[in-house]
């Protein structure tokens, strides 16, 4: 069995979002997890990445001004 090579913080942080997206190879996933198991600073980065993703995913929709809404509804009626 080969031992997973340790990676520095810069490399772990670089891969955090892809790690959350499951967009990295199993080998790199293991490296990031190993790094996170001992590095408190990068765990903070990971939590913040999760918060940022949730913030973006739940960001409220832009309000549609009533005059724009009326014009677009009239446009749809005219199709």
């Amino acid at each position: 069995m080969t031992e997973t090579r340790a990676i520095p913080c810069s490399e772990a942080v670089r891969q955090l979002w892809d790690y959350l997206d499951h967009a990295i190879t199993p080998e790199n996933q293991e490296k990031v997890e190993k790094h996170l198991s001992f590095c408190r600073k990068c765990c903070g980065e990971l939590e913040f990445a999760k918060e940022m993703r949730a913030f973006l995913a739940t960001s409220s929709a832009e309000e549609i001004p009533s005059d724009v809404k009326e014009r677009l509804e009239r446009f749809v009626e005219g199709l």
Binding site: G44, F48, M52, L56, A57, E62, I64, R71, L72, V76
Partner: protein
Amino acid sequence: MESVIEVNEAAVRDRTRDAFQGLARAELPALYSLARRLVRDGAEDLVQEALLQAFRAFGTLKEEAAAGRWLKTILVNVFRDQLRKRSRSVDERPVGDLSDFSLYRTLVDEDPFPYSDTLHADFLQAFDSEDLREVLIRLPDIYRIPLVLRYIDGFATKEVARLMEAPLGTILARLHRGRRLFEREMWTYAQESGLLTKEDGHD
């Protein structure tokens, strides 16, 4: 005099129009919101053009339940085509060295809300939808579009690549660089706009 076939075709056309209009009306807020995050000016025109193309292609919509995603896809296609017409070259404005920037670390170091126990969450909560748009609009198109589609509108990375007609690796690289740039712009915008001077990060 109209034949029975012509009368029936007209009735089908009316029913189709009614169905499309119902779906389109329901999706107007979501379409407008997406358009506002993609373009600085001309969101209303973009929505109109998308609706026009969607109406012409309404027959290709297989499930009405998927109408929202289908309309957004058409809007993104229209936007991509408009970008191509406006400029043959991709907007590759230099964005500086991003390799060392970490918003997480910057917030810890600068500590803008010293009395907060939830510094990072408070920082994010200081941004309302208009602030978020202002930050997004500052980004070059090549970074903003994948970020909006992937992380705000929830398209899969592969779908983003297909929509942008770019290789998956290119989109992954732009998402990576775009996230760094977005975080740096959030920090810059927060400083410039006074978001950090509000008490504890809240209004």
